[in-house]
Symmetry: C2
Subunit: 204 residues, 2 copies
Amino acid sequence: MTQLLPAALLRAIDELGRLPGVGARTAERYAYYLLRGDQHIAQKLARTIAELHSGVKTCPVTFALIDASEDISKLYSDPSRNKQLVAVVEEPLDIIALERTGQYDGTYHVLGGAISPIDGVGPEQLHIPELLARLKADQVEEIIIATNASVEGESTALFLQRFIQENGYEVKMTRLARGIPVGVDLEYADQITLSHALEGRRIL
Amino acid sequence: MTQLLPAALLRAIDELGRLPGVGARTAERYAYYLLRGDQHIAQKLARTIAELHSGVKTCPVTFALIDASEDISKLYSDPSRNKQLVAVVEEPLDIIALERTGQYDGTYHVLGGAISPIDGVGPEQLHIPELLARLKADQVEEIIIATNASVEGESTALFLQRFIQENGYEVKMTRLARGIPVGVDLEYADQITLSHALEGRRIL
């Protein structure tokens, strides 16, 4: 079969197809959209992608994503944030989810993933030593282990809890409540979630 | 709320969110994937997107997408293709779908859309005059109207059929068969498809 599409279009489809969850058809649709639209839309997208790495760096204390021009995360340096309260999350984007609640005034610590033997991620790949350093330096009183509610997230939470205790740190450790999400009918809640909701029931 | 993400990341999320069917969460996921991965993956994607418009042009005869270095679509200039048979499609990518069948040796004509009053697309926006010119120049014997099986596609097919007749061109016009897709159970076929399948039934 002869080559049916222009080489430049095929290259764009190939590269767009590397994005997570994007198959060949979706990549074709994206590329064709960019090709059909005004040239400056494609140019602007290209420029923002090209400047992504140079414009972003990782905070050396919290491992949140920060502007390349910043030294430290504003969510840490802001004096109104309680440094003695640390929410430990897996990924930088998890911070946004917690910030959107408007209910949290502590600081964050991004682990950079979760323990997952299948993916070859052990505790040594995560920012755990840096967390221990913060416990001392900031006299942390409470760690909220806000890893995902997945097997990996739970293992990581358990590991962290033990590791911090074994290293002789006395700090209150909490975990986000598991229960029935707002707006979900009881009959649609899965067994495990429902067990958690029972266990964590509160006095009215 | 202070700005939670680096400006460069926000810009990339914004631009990725313009892709068709991509919401804020998906755009965040794409941007974070590019940021987390090796820098040259992002650079390569940026380059291919930036070079998309300059590397691709439209064939002046068939309106298929061709390399900027080409004069005319290979699917037209190839002497083994039957120029007296023309498949009329809405979009350039429809050509790939037909070519993948390996059953077609005619040429193509891309309309550049379908008639859709809601979207403000009338016949005058489509490459219909150029199709009429080909009918004469190539002594076309059959036009396969291969527009989509949507309301717009059907309207366009009907319009084309009448327009060509009214302009005094005597040419056989056909439409792709409608029926039950291979592998689909009768009980899952919708009413209209099933009606088409009944109408178009074949003697065994």
